[in-house]
Amino acid sequence: MNDGPGAPQSRDAAGLPMPLRIAWRNLWRNTRRTALTAGGVAFAVFLVTAAMCLQLGSYHTMKETATGLLAGHLQIQHGDYRDSQRLEDALPAAAELLAEVGSMPGIAAASARVETFALASVGERSFGARIIGLDAAAERQVVDLHERIVAGRHIESAEDAVLGTVLARNLGVAVGDEVVLLGSARQGGVAVLVANVAGLIESGMVELDRSLLLADITAVQNAFDLTDRAHRIVLRTTDLEEVATIAAAVRRTLPARWPDAAAEDAVPLRTLTWRDVLPELNQAIEIDRLSAVLFYWLIMLLVAFSVVNTFIMTVFERRREFGMLLAIGMRPGRVMLMLQWEALFMWGIGTAAGMALAGALVAWLAETGIYLGADMERLASQMYMPARLYPVFAWEALLTAPLVMLAGTQVAAVLPSLRIRRIRPVDALRVAA
């Protein structure tokens, strides 16, 4: 027998009920096997937990970055605007709507925008530009756009404009220069807006930097015949993770048509979450989540296999012992239950070790972050990711691996211990020592 004389007190489990005591002490009859099995569980728990913390952390950052850039957490639009992007699919009585939505529960800040495409010209140079008319002061509360201004300042007056860096370079303008915007107004006819370049903005998104032109909302409304109209009411909620609930509440509270069904120019309203506004990000996260799930399940499955193997070996080696227990009148079910306890202890040891390692690593990385490297930096910025990833502690990440492994180890122990029902005490006792 492998048990040495006088096992340490800490392993003695003298305070536990007898079957648990037997189960616990049995673990230490073959310390190496227990260590390897619990080590496998620890490996899976550590890897899956740490990876999930990192994964959720990067999703969190991606969402924060992406919604903070332009989209906000929620948007209210004309029912057709998202697909058509047409100038006339605008919300009427925008100021009233803004005030009403802004005071709803769960909404931290709100800002109205008008958007259109226009020709931006400087001298003989012209480029297509995506014009966003906004209220700079209100936007500061909703998104972090102002943090991305790399030269000059944000919009302060009706004449100011902030250009994407690439657009500015293409147009050959610098802060202080004048740019002429030429487009079509809402009722037809030509819209003209002359603006001064107050600042330059760099988002890291190639498409935006090449086309973005921010201007004062009132100036754009006036020039494009959009008085008191807006294309988007952009909202920041009190909690990004609760956005679906808040959106549902907003939908319930708002009328289906705005200003109301009686008014002549009432339009259908649509409340969109960032998932609808940035489908590519939402889907990229979904795909990543799916592939990660494949990854996690494969690892945990493999470790569960090794637990099955451990219990096959345990049952095989202890056939005589089980035979004796059956002979003195212990029911097979209770013998099996004892093995389930062993599996539970093994899981407990492995999970504790794995969680401790994962916790330490995540806590450390949450401070320092993981640097992706210079090559990945540009790529990351296209995915709304910063160059440094910070894992987060989240219930989902902390519970998944332990719970799945709990189920896995229990099932893994059940399969071999079903054999116990087939052990006939007579045969077991007859086997030579």
Partner: protein, 412 residues
Amino acid sequence: MTAQRRSMPLSLLFSLGVRNLFRHRRRNFMLLLAISVAVAGVVLTNSLIRGFQADMRDAAVDNLTGHIKVLAPGYRDDPGIDKRFNVAEGWHDSLAGVPVAGWAPRIRVPAVLMSERETRGIELVGIDPSREDISFVGDVAVSGERLANAADGRLLLGKALAEQLRTDVGYRLVVMAQGADGLNREAGFRVAGLFDGDGTGLEKAFAFTGLERLQSMLGTSAVTEISVRLEHDEPPLLDTAVRRLRETYPAQDVLRWDTLEPQAAAMFEYADMAIFIWFLILMSALVFGLVNTLVTAVMERTRELGMLRALGMRPGTVVMQVVLESCIIMAAGVALGLLIGSGLVWWLRDGIDLSAWSDGVELAGMRSTLVPRLRAGDVALVTGMSLLLGVLASLYPAWRAVKIKPLEAMQR
């Protein structure tokens, strides 16, 4: 025949190993299953990542990039007709002997498209339709008509862009762009057809017209780029082609696709690394069970191994026996795993439909159908590394086996 006298013949050790494995069918079957699942998992994810890599590169190359491009200096930073160059007469002689799939001269300039109600900024591309079999334009689905030739003065637009502009086949659009003299040009174009880019951003980014028409509009006979596509993209071939082109166009930039699309190239390398890391992690998860089973197999044979040692078996032979046993089960597991994995790849040969996530897929540079690709090199790598792992995992159990003292073991 000294080798024979010194140790047991390998064939005997081998059959001993196989028999030992069959002594404990249940647990070794579980081990085999675990190895197979791991290997099959590696093979499947591996070929999915390879498929993703290939997609990404093809998409990058297809999207008007090609394998190699000749560009005027400065065009990449500030694309415009002022960064242009003339196509040298008979220039492609310089590529004689290089397997070229095709090449296309183009003008690509930023432009503004105006319908009666809407304005959009896009990239206007002047092409010679007969040469565009090297890019997506050549085989994209089109409603209406394609461009007939380089002199065709009509426009080919993406479906999504046409919807935004509220235009359709046969309608007129006004195009504004900067001319070669730096002055703005404006011209009317009729829409020839609308292309279907599978909902990708291509539909909103580009409008195509005939190269000669665009040249006359902008007042130049030059182009802004020549895109070259090779028969295959082995690095030495790319290097040769780049060298020849640089000799022909010494004043221009000659760039490979991975320089032109650094994001795709970075993603490509990242995927290479991911394959390796993934393999290591899965195999590590396997090691716990493998070592566990092997040590048990050694410990329950303590008497037997002690007896063999007493009869004169050398420690080296004992080690060999354990290592061989590990390798046999590993090899069997790898074979089964490869079979299952290739089966899965074959089953998915028509690709996984990702169109439900088309926007996200595009963000990652993939196509809407992901076809797994199994490469012989990867299979060889997985097999070799697994066997190496089998040897490594058997070292500790083998050490335990060697430590068995013949006399003590037999007294037990």
